[in-house]
């Protein structure tokens, strides 16, 4: 009798082990800035990634394997990002890496990805040259937008919507991304409106929270439009400080490239009339979007998703879709599936360009308006520009896949 009991136990133990082996989780390294000035964005992007993983696991995981997220802080710093990414690959043996906030950190991860042949899906860094430009590589895909997609869409919108704009000024963060966006926007705008006057751009050091000293010189030029990519907390602090100097009474303010929603939801009574371009619109009528927004709002207490959160969420679902399509966890097969593939996202179908691994999402541009349904402002009736219409043609990206 005792022998039988032992035998049954043994069989059970073995069965459990075998079963568990079949269920070995898919390990995904999730890197965002969880601290520092970009911590505002990164923390929420990490949270929404968790929501995505929970939803995927509830539906039976990816090809039957549950998803396990290893969430790490990249501090939006290239050196930290490189160290964390290496550790994820070499010690934690992750299958994939997603995320990273800010282009410099994203670039570090892309290098690690290429070196160790580990697939990396970016959902943060937007500098055009990095990741899908000159520095593109076979193992890196950018799910979020490139800077060029934004400034080209912005220039198109401004040129067609505001025919009366004669003078354009800008206030932007003083690092390569801020310069790329300002230079790109103004040169595109000049192509469409050769008579437009461009005031020399004002650039503010990244860590600066006090904009007072930069405001007067912009107001003094009496521009018809002020273009800015001051994102996250910087955009909020800037608007708050510039408002009593009368900046927004005389000039239209265009807060570009995923900075607008944070401003709309954080500024409260200090909100001013502004326009902007966003990578996603959380009010969209799309089942995947609704599912994300519902679960997120439950967790955040009614605060809508902002900036690239939809992209963080979509990245994990794109992984699920491509793996189930190629029916394999093999990196090379997944790459083949991603290149030129079309996937469901919260903003509809999206294709990833084969040549430079740049996703072709949508750009939502419009005016911020008070919304009776919420305590914060929302993007009102935005114009939707497909990225295909505004992306740099492959020949101009400088990408040679290696």
């Amino acid at each position: 009798m005792r022998a039988v009991a032992i035998a049954i136990c043994l069989v059970l133990v073995c069965a459990v082990t075998v079963f568990a082996a079949g269920q070995e989780p898919v390990k995904i390294g999730v890197m965002y800035a969880l601290s520092g000035p970009l911590g505002v964005l990164g923390t929420d992007q990490a949270k929404v990634s968790k929501i995505a993983a929970d939803q995927i696991n509830k539906e039976g995981g990816i090809l039957g394997r549950p998803v396990e997220l290893l969430i790490r802080d990249d501090e939006a710093s290239p050196s930290t990002a490189a160290r964390v990414a290496r550790k994820l690959v070499l010690e934690d043996k992750v299958n994939f890496i997603v995320g990273a906030n800010g282009s410099p950190a994203g670039m570090s991860v892309a290098e690690v990805a290429s070196r160790f042949k580990t697939l990396y899906l970016s959902a943060g860094g937007a500098m055009t040259e990095l990741m899908t430009g000159k520095n593109c590589n076979r193992y890196t895909f950018r799910i979020n937008h490139s800077g060029a997609q934004f400034y080209r869409a912005d220039a198109t919108y401004v040129a067609s919507t505001f025919p009366d704009v004669k003078t354009v000024a800008g206030i932007n963060p003083d690092y390569s991304y801020g310069h790329e966006m300002w230079d790109g926007f103004t040169s595109e705008l000049k192509k469409k409106k050769p008579d437009v006057q461009v005031v020399p751009g004002v650039f503010v050091p990244m860590a600066e929270k006090d904009y007072t000293n930069y405001i007067a010189s912009v107001v003094d030029k009496k521009p018809d439009l002020v273009y800015s990519v001051l994102w996250s907390g910087s955009g909020v602090a800037f608007v708050k400080q510039a408002k009593p100097y009368g900046m927004f009474d005389k000039s239209r303010f265009f807060l570009a490239a995923a900075a607008l929603t944070t401003a709309m939801t954080t500024l409260g009574n200090d909100m001013v009339r502004m326009w902007g371009s966003e990578p996603e619109d959380w009010q969209m009528d799309n089942p995947m979007n609704k599912r994300m927004v519902t679960d997120w709002m439950k967790e955040s207490g009614g605060k809508p998703p902002h900036a690239y959160m939809g992209h963080s969420y979509a990245t994990l679902f794109i992984l699920k879709q491509v793996i189930e399509r190629v029916k394999s966890f093999d990196t090379e097969k997944i790459i083949a599936g991603l290149e030129g593939g079309t996937f469901d996202t919260p903003w509809g179908k999206m294709t990833i360009r084969k040549g430079d691994h740049q996703a072709m999402g949508k750009i939502f541009i419009g005016e911020a308006m008070p919304n009776p349904k919420y305590q914060f402002w929302t993007l009102s009736n935005p114009k939707v520009i497909p990225a295909e219409d505004v992306s740099l043609p492959m020949s101009e990206t400088g990408c040679v896949m290696k």
Binding site: G36, P205, K209, D210, T212, I215, A216, S217, K240, Y245
Partner: protein, 285 residues
């Protein structure tokens, strides 16, 4: 625009003075470089946010938040710093630096990493017109606050008994102790008062820049520059140093924007070279 920029410079200067005066006072009396001063300032901003949310009034938080900061500083002084006065300076520095890290992580754990915006008091949200240009009313308040604090400090140090005792202790603590002054008590008073000043700084800045992690580190470096330029231990030196650096920042941004990050430190180094004791510092020190 020159006038507007001058006023902007003044507001920066007065904010820097709120921090630098506490820093220089603490150094003058305790001979301690209060590394945690910026963190106390940050704490002041966060307390302002919480009290403003809780009470619904910015004015209540402007009064209460600095008092809370002073309490926190009192605890740090009484239970930790006091044990180290007799030790080498390195120990005090290490202790205060560890409080920088502790306060930093504690604020992150308690208030999160996102920027916390404090609404301006309703009466001061608007702007007034100065020579045809709009200027924020609230910033005028800051400009007015600085000289007020300087004057109050001057009167307190020279016109009150405890103030004179503080001055005496700062000149020679052994002699002060020998004539019967309660030096440890004076140390506590000065440390707590200096912290209160930084708390006022945090409370005043919260409606402008919001409360965010890392804000302490940003301001402490500039405050040190002010103290060094003005002369360690000198209140009026701190005032002068703050004015100088505030205006340099304001006009530097207009004239040489590319050098703005470097400019204040260049001035600090220049002072080091030509007048190491600072503009109004006592010589020999």
């Amino acid at each position: 625009m020159i006038l507007i920029q001058f006023l902007n410079g003044l507001s920066t200067a007065m904010l820097l003075f709120l921090l630098a005066s506490g820093l220089t006072l603490i150094f003058g009396v305790l001979r301690v470089i209060n590394f945690a001063h910026g963190s106390l300032y940050m704490l002041g901003a966060y307390f302002t946010y919480s009290v403003a949310v809780f009470s619904g009034s910015y004015w209540v938080s402007l009064l209460a938040a600095p008092v809370f900061v002073a309490c926190a500083a009192g605890l740090i002084e009484r239970f930790f710093l006091r044990r180290l006065y007799v030790r080498e300076h390195e120990f005090q520095l290490l202790l205060l630096y560890s409080f920088v890290l502790i306060i930093d992580d504690a604020t992150k754990a308690f208030w999160g990493t996102s920027i916390r915006m404090v609404p301006k008091p309703a009466a001061l949200t608007g702007s007034i017109e100065i020579l045809g240009r709009a200027f924020p009313t609230y910033t005028l308040l800051i400009i007015g606050l600085g000289p007020l604090v300087a004057l109050a400090l001057f009167l307190a140090l020279n016109g009150t008994k405890i103030g004179r005792q503080v001055v005496a202790a700062s000149l020679d603590r052994e002699a002060a102790s020998a004539v019967g002054l309660n030096v440890p008590f004076l140390y506590s008073v000065v440390f707590v008062f200096g912290a209160w000043l930084s708390g006022v700084g945090g409370a005043v800045v919260a409606p402008l820049r919001g409360a965010s992690p890392g804000m302490g580190m940003e301001i402490i470096i500039m405050s040190f520059a002010v103290v060094i330029v003005g002369g360690l231990g000198s209140i009026w030196g701190a005032f002068l140093g703050a004015l100088l650096l505030g205006e340099v920042l304001a006009f530097g941004t207009l004239i040489v924007p590319n050098l703005i990050v470097l400019l204040p430190y260049a001035i600090m180094i220049l002072i080091f070279l030509v007048r190491p004791q600072g503009l109004l510092g006592r010589g020999g020190g």
